[in-house]
Subunit: 583 residues, 2 copies
């Protein structure tokens, strides 16, 4: 062992002991007659001291050569510090060095290894092994481990069994694009990497495994949006002989446990909100309910006046922004510009100032009198001092636009507090959603989701109206988990595939094994999956997942550190019976 | 919830309660006026009773339709059984059924869902979801989960952090063949699936993570031998600022913990054996030391007589098989046939009977007298009643042959006891091994393994003699783990790549990021990896891993249940810029 102690553990009680430490040179200050070195390892920083009077000359000389990030081992005596540093756990002591070995030299790192580094995202990713030395990244990774341990121990105690499902599976055209893996031994054939272990966990239920979970890597070959990774981690769960209520309770319990153990936060029963209500009140199926600003639908009170824009809109909807009547005209103009950005896409915005004296001043005073505006205030819950912002247009689009504005204003007003946790179940999702590109309905969740009892007949006449036994767990405006009760009989599953445009032959080729399995005694079952990267990030008080992943890929799916993907040998391609077909 | 209790929990103390159970029909016995049904779930079996006098007619009728593996839900009252069954935990009670719902019907399963099934390997794999309902498979999977939990909790308590490393990495020509994954977004380029997280865990050490572990899937595209899987699971570990001794102690501790917690077996300090000694005494680098039969090298006492076969052999070596003097001539002939099978490959076998009266009778009495044979007995440790078996030939081959015979005889003699655990460290492995095909040295462990201190110069003159800081953990004749102290400086690593036949350009292209990392302050480090599938199987008292994997692949790398791999769409190939190049 290269050390008797770590760099984080020595205290005043260790004074006069002889110790051996090893670690990295964080910084060194050379006053000529005296040199101080901060020695760092995973556990902390300990100050080393070399001084002309007490340190042998050769060691003193060697200490002068130490550069940042050199790896060294030292022997020395723990002594009391003259000027103690109460900001560091080891701040009462320092080590008077009696022996120094340089274990490895280091080039000057391309960015500073400090909590606040001077390195940009790109350089930090290229040298991720140096980035990991920084406290914020190191602690994020250790926090991730802690969350995983809590999840596993909790679920295990609740009787769940972690079962490893295969990574080399079969490609299915439904859903996102698969990564595929050519098979050398089966010429012309490919495995696919799983987008989720969905069918396998259902088969485990058919196999009687009853309560399954797995923390597992999943893969999606999608064009990457910011903060999406081609490989990501799920907490994947499934239960048999349960109804939706049982699943919500089980995983509400787990989430509550995590909040308590990891954040010290006690949360009561999670509120539940219908998908339709979430869309109506927040314009969003994953509302952040840490703050209000619920939508007020204004069609009734704002239409049928002379304002054409509203009269022709499918939906007129507003929110009251607390205290924003203090905004200057210029600030409001900037806000209007903000909602008109292509990322938001509104054509314009109507606003109403709610003055302290109870009067209103709007951008549409020509069309609406004080009584009209008072009704708007009532519907949006605006109080004196607020600013009502109103958008109009096609229902789906205008809701998304106003939701973006609501989130932006909450951010600006500091209402999205990282230490506050507001979980929420959103339930009764639609079974299907219309896809503009392919002009057909797709499964909103996936094709194994069960429609609400008694609604399956609606599929023939009004498919968009059919609700599913599907639910999402939302935390602070982020979907952290989602799932459903599954279909567990062959007939319903065949019907679903039919509605989704599979021919019976396609259904059989893709999912024949599942439909076969349903014939041999499939129990009622359901489950959900948590996005583990996001869950960890949110519990860690952040919204970007990248620092919670040890070796993330960039937006082109590249690992810039190892420089992957990369070309492979002709020979490898030949063995796989493949040829490049470059454009 | 579909049930108030599981099928494994009701006892005499529950008599008179009303319960709801759900599960599968294991079997039903219809006596006309009375029907018994064994209801099974993950937790056990509970007997249901329907009887003409006490059960409503409609339920009675429905019960008569129940087939094997139907999924049902029942309500009923717990009553005392007339004839108790002390072999089952629920054997004191039965349920008088008052309500019966058929949740799902079932076709007759293609094999019996019993501990001893009538289904062969192939059919069980095709219907693996039914196979998992059988106790032996279900319990193996649950045992696997338990082992994983013990490993994680133990290592976590010891300060190890589980870090997820990426699955989409870069192909390297060294070692086994990679599975590759074409990148759609990076035309003509490929990811590779990791054969192990080797370089990433080393980078985590450079990153200061200090104590890392991960239970992780790894991939190797090899022609599959029996009991090998293209995807397999490792417990991957690495530590910084350690020497070999520290790593052996850390993972001896973990293994001892597993044996104690999972098997109730207390094991003392693990013996350590030099690789050279293991080869000399057992002909094998993973000796099963639950039993003796050590090799005796007979060159000195058997050569330079008139027996040409021995005189021209590089090695003459024998073992004493306890009590095997009782073998008839015919049995011995069969044994000789056994060692001459192509799988073993010996050209013949000399034997010596050790008679109870102290005399010897050998198959080479023409060349050796009683004094000669007494020396053979001494060297092989043979006692009266034993049979000495002697093979000769090229050292490496003859050792492998005699090792095979030793294991076979131990199996036949019942010396490989499943409940007995004999762990062993084999240390000081050679750094390189000669590869007949490519006619060059390959890294025996991998190219990052550090040679023993002071031996690196030997590489130039006598590479085969260089020993490494490399070690294997052997349990009952199986390698369950292996690892090494790594090179941690750029110069040595460059030298190693050079000796292994990499040009500097190749080394840079493949491992440039690692050699770069070594320049920025790499600490001394080392680690090991356990083969988790095998470890679980051995702890579970078995030698085949397949029942400890939920969804294994067959020897052609196929998942016969989901029928993967499979052809993919033209469109998918086009997107990946690939063409099939079928032979």
């Amino acid at each position: 062992m290269y050390r008797s102690h770590t760099c984080g553990e020595l205290r005043a009680s260790n004074i006069n002991s002889e110790v051996t430490l090893a670690g990295w040179v964080q910084r060194s200050r050379d006053k000529g007659f005296m040199i101080w070195v901060d020695l760092r390892d995973r556990y902390g920083i300990t100050q080393l001291i070399f001084d002309e009077e007490r340190t042998p000359r050769d060691i003193m000389d060697k200490a002068k050569q130490l550069g940042r990030e050199f790896v060294i081992q030292i022997k020395g005596n723990v002594i009391e510090r003259e000027s103690k540093n109460s900001n560091m756990p080891t701040g009462d002591i320092e080590i008077l060095v009696t022996g120094l070995t340089i274990l490895n030299e280091a080039l000057l790192p391309p960015f500073t290894i400090e909590d606040e580094t001077d390195g940009g995202e790109d350089i930090r990713m290229k040298y991720r092994y140096l980035d990991i030395r920084r406290n914020p990244v190191k602690e994020s990774l250790m926090f991730r481990h802690k969350v995983a341990m809590e999840v596993r121990n909790y679920l295990s105690k609740e009787g769940f069994v972690e079962v490893e499902t295969p990574y080399l599976i079969k490609s299915t055209p439904e859903g996102a694009r698969d990564f595929v893996v050519p098979s050398r031994m089966n010429e012309g054939q490919f495995y696919a990497l799983p987008q989720s272990p969905q069918t396998f966990k259902q088969l485990l239920m058919v196999g009687g495994m009853d309560k399954y979970f797995q923390i597992v890597k999943c893969f999606r070959d999608e064009d990457l949006r910011a903060d999406r990774q081609p490989e990501f981690t799920q907490i994947d769960c499934e239960m048999a002989f349960v109804e939706q209520e049982d699943i919500l309770n089980a995983f509400e319990g787990m989430t509550r446990h995590l909040l308590k153990e990891l954040k010290g936060v006690e949360v009561g029963a999670f509120p539940r909100m219908l998908y339709d209500d979430a869309m109506r009140l927040y314009g969003n199926d994953k509302p952040d309910i840490r703050f209000g600003m619920q939508f007020g639908e204004l069609n009734e009170v704002a239409q049928n006046k002379d304002f054409k824009v509203f009269n022709t809109a499918a939906l007129v909807v507003g929110i009251a922004i607390p205290g924003a009547n203090s905004y200057t005209r210029k600030e409001i103009d900037k806000l209007i510009d903000w909602v008109k950005r292509p990322q938001v896409g509104a054509l314009g915005m109507v606003y109403v100032r709610c003055n302290e004296d109870g009067s209103f001043k709007s951008s549409v005073d020509k069309f609406y009198d004080q009584d009209d505006l008072a009704k708007w205030a009532e519907v949006t819950g605006a109080k004196a001092g607020d600013l009502i912002c109103v958008l109009s247009g096609e229902t789906h689009k205008v809701r998304a636009q106003l939701s973006a504005l609501r989130m932006e204003m909450a951010e600006r007003l500091g209402l999205r507090k990282p230490g506050e946790f507001a979980p929420l179940w959103v339930i009764d999702f639609p079974l299907l959603e219309w896809d503009e590109d392919t002009e057909r309905y797709h499964a909103m969740h996936h094709p194994f989701t069960s429609p609400k009892p008694g609604q399956i007949e609606l599929l023939a006449t009004n498919p968009g109206e059919v609700k599913a036994n599907a639910y999402d767990l939302v935390l602070n405006g982020n979907e952290i988990g989602g799932g459903s009760i599954r279909i567990h009989d062959k007939e319903t599953q065949a019907l679903m595939f039919d509605y989704l445009g599979f021919t019976p032959e396609e259904a059989k080729a893709q999912f024949g094994f599942l439909m076969d399995a349903f014939q041999y005694g499939a129990p009622p079952h359901g489950g959900l999956a948590f996005g583990f990267d996001r869950l960890v990030a949110i519990l860690g008080g952040q919204e970007t997942i990248r620092d919670f992943i040890a070796f993330p890929k960039n937006n082109s799916g590249r690992d810039v550190m190892i420089d992957a993907p990369a070309p492979i040998d002709e020979e490898q391609l030949d063995e796989l019976n493949l040829k490049l077909n470059l454009s």
